[in-house]
């Protein structure tokens, strides 16, 4: 029997078995990664589409996914990758070096692990980060934040940016809708990440399930750091909850307007035409970055008041890692100005 120390499930895996996520195995008495160096999809997109809004805005990222998840969210929007038997997903071998080469060929500024949970393929992501940093590319991920402290430290040590999903505000919510015992590991890791890596937070909202927790979630973020960008994601009713109503945009907008008292940078997206995807100065309400919400994770920045995030209205800087960059700047041969984590 081995204990998997990657996430707080801490699965005890008997010989011949796999952990909850089915991506860690015990075949011969040691913990082994299933499907090593195998990925399920590649896509080129704006970093805003992840969503990540305050890290080199406007830049281009190569996002990739593997398969599997350590959560079981009843409203999962990527169940076809995350909640199926990994053996059923069509996967292809791509070493970290080859993935980095793809990103360079595609004129990307960064590589992002998206769609499924990176904790289930942690060793690949860490090796990829080393390979990418050697070539001057940033690496980031979207995660549910349920890592063990050791895994969180390893991850934060290599990631240049992270977006952690804070799905609710209570143990009860995490128990009933996510399938884990309590929220506390996520809160602990958020606290840790906030001081070790560029951090943004996403909350998927679904009607009558967690829309009443907006105020509490804003309060949690406020306690960590009110300047962390917070993305409220209008989740389309899917998977085991496909009979639900679409979240009401007006109603949520009102709740988020109130939450501005606690969090400085609130975004509300995943519907086309959203006006909540632009960045406004929390002090004087000057629009600092104008973005267009395209639906389906598409967000396009169209105007920057200042490339370095300085508010022309009140001379205060928005919290920004890196400066605004031209989406196609890595297409042309020019010296990279990105500062990447050293190994």
């Amino acid at each position: 029997m081995v204990v998997c120390e990657q996430c707080e499930r801490r699965c005890r895996i008997n010989e011949g078995d796999a952990g909850y996520c089915r991506m860690y195995l015990n075949r011969t008495g040691t913990l082994e990664q299933a499907l090593p160096n195998m990925i399920s999809a590649l896509m080129i997109q704006r970093i805003e589409g992840l969503p990540v809004f305050h890290f080199y805005p406007g830049s281009r990222t190569l996002s990739f996914s593997t398969t599997g998840c350590n959560f079981d969210c009843r409203y999962c929007s990527t169940a076809f990758i995350s909640r199926v038997d990994p053996a059923e997903v069509v996967m292809h071998e791509l070493s970290p070096d080859m993935l980095v080469n793809k990103a360079l060929l595609a004129g990307c500024h960064s590589i992002s692990f998206t769609t499924n949970e990176p904790t289930v393929s942690l060793s690949y992501l860490l090796k990829l980060a080393d390979a990418a940093h050697q070539k001057g590319l940033h690496v980031g991920c979207l995660t549910n934040g349920y890592q063990t402290p050791a895994a969180a430290e390893a991850l934060a040590g290599k990631m240049d940016f992270m977006n952690v999903s804070l799905k609710g505000s209570t143990d009860g919510f995490y128990r009933d809708y996510v399938g884990v015992d309590n929220i506390s590991p996520v809160l602990r890791n958020l606290e840790y990440y906030s001081s070790h890596v560029h951090l943004e937070i996403t909350t998927p909202v679904i009607t009558d399930i967690n829309d009443d927790q907006i105020r509490e979630i804003a309060f949690i973020i406020n306690k960590i750091n009110r300047q962390i960008p917070w993305h409220v994601f209008r989740l389309l009713p899917e998977y085991k909850m496909s009979d639900r109503e679409y979240p009401d945009i007006r109603d949520l907008s009102e709740k988020l307007e109130e939450a501005r008292a606690a969090v400085d940078y609130i975004y509300f997206g995943n519907f086309p035409g959203s006006e909540w995807v632009s960045t406004y100065c929390p002090t004087c309400r000057t629009r600092l970055i104008e973005r267009v919400g395209l639906g389906g994770c598409g967000v396009k920045p169209v105007n920057f008041a200042d490339k370095n995030g300085l508010c022309p209205g009140c001379d205060v800087n928005m919290p920004l890692t890196g400066n605004c960059v031209d989406y196609s700047s890595a297409e042309i041969e020019e010296e990279k100005t990105c500062q990447v984590k050293s190994e």
Partner: protein, 382 residues
């Protein structure tokens, strides 16, 4: 404001945008209200819902009643999403194909338009995936399996490997392609270093390959079925002049594109029409270009496959397309054209109708509806 307005309906919430910049306009003008009411009244049931085609019919009957256009374009695409991702068997597919014919009948019965029906081609069993992720160069495949693949910066090893792969039926360089087909400069500026086609039934896994596993693949046919009273339709480029001629005679025509219908399974009387130029068999995009402009696909600014992510300038809601085509059937024939389709982006980008209503779906997720008004549509509603 540019010459194109979009109205988005995300369910119980609407906004108007400038299609060129993507930026929000100050509200939906009262003149556009008829259109905003239609997209509110008919929420799109979703790509995987079996009611997807009924939505096209309901919306189109309402729009025809409101605007009485000379020309209507309909696109029925529900079969594609259901066949590829809906987990349905052959018997269900055949039954749903018959229901499309009923949808067309209902539209014709309620509006009196003369149908010009084009089957865009059928599906085939998925034989397998071809891994193009691990090439040294960058391979781009369309989001949906079948069709055209672009290879950028391939190594000699890549080319040797691909040439010896029996699943690859064609691999030609940009220069070879140009000497064969000719065409305009912007087409070739976007053209990949190598253009590739796989044998029908194989799907490429590359950048933009869908992570969802499809159950079937598109088949690229040499000929497609056309059902019409108009004579002399041998090639796709014959369609525009014939329809313009009929409209000039005062006839009211509905050009109806049905995905999944081929010469083998179209349940209407039909004739074959070439779906190729030389050895290139059209997929939906180049088909639409040829039909709606009446010109060779190489006169279009867009090759069958290109690095669409390089285009960061304008028309963000049109995804691949940042240069709208104005010399199209929809912009020149009769006095007003409308388009209704349940595949996103293609109707408003390629049909060129004055008023378009389409679903707003991405990766089979249903975000709502979108209407696009331009040209004579904006004049009418000013």
């Amino acid at each position: 404001m540019s010459g194109e307005v979009g109205i988005i309906d995300a369910r119980e919430w609407q906004t108007a945008v400038d299609m060129r910049s993507g930026c929000t306009l100050d509200g939906i003008r009262p003149q556009w209200r008829q259109i905003s009411e239609v997209i509110d009244k008919y929420p799109y049931p979703g790509d995987l819902s079996e009611e997807g085609n009924q939505w096209v019919v309901d919306v189109s009957i309402e729009v025809v009643r409101l605007f009485n256009p000379s020309l209507v374009f309909l696109l029925f695409a529900n079969q594609t999403f259901r066949a590829l991702f809906g987990g349905i068997d052959e018997r269900t597919m055949a039954a749903e194909s018959d229901r499309v014919a009923e949808c067309i009948e209902k539209f014709v019965f309620n509006t009196g338009y003369e149908p010009f029906v084009i089957g865009t081609g059928g599906f085939c069993k998925l034989k397998g995936f071809m891994n193009l992720m691990s090439t040294d160069g960058l391979a781009l495949g369309g989001g949906i399996p079948g069709g055209h693949i672009g290879i950028f910066s391939p190594s000699d090893k890549d080319l040797d490997t691909l040439r010896s792969d029996l699943r690859v039926v064609r691999l030609v360089s940009r220069d070879e392609f140009r000497s064969q087909f000719g065409g305009n400069d912007s087409f070739y500026q976007r053209f990949p270093d190598y253009y590739m086609e796989l044998e029908d039934g194989y799907a490429a896994r590359s950048v933009y390959g869908l992570p969802r596993n499809p159950d079937r693949s598109f088949k690229l046919p040499w000929e497609i079925p056309v059902s019409t009273h108009l004579k002399g339709i041998d090639n796709l480029t014959d369609i525009r002049p014939r329809i313009e001629g009929a409209i000039n005679q005062g006839r009211k025509i509905a050009v109806i594109l049905v995905e999944g219908w081929s010469l083998e399974n179209m349940p209407l009387d039909c004739e074959p029409c070439n779906n190729h130029e030389s050895w290139l068999r059209h997929g939906l995009k180049t088909q639409c270009h040829s039909i709606f402009t009446g010109k060779s696909f190489t006169e279009c600014p867009y090759p069958p496959i290109f690095k669409c992510y390089d285009e960061d300038n304008i028309y963000p809601f049109s995804f691949d397309y940042s240069e709208p085509e104005y010399d199209t059937l929809g912009q020149t024939a009769g006095d007003l054209s409308v388009a209704i389709g349940n595949r996103s982006i293609i109707p408003h980008s390629l049909f060129g109708a004055d008023i378009t209503i389409e679903c707003f779906a991405r990766c089979v997720q249903n975000f709502g509806n979108m209407a696009v008004i331009k040209g004579r549509g904006l004049e009418l509603l000013s």
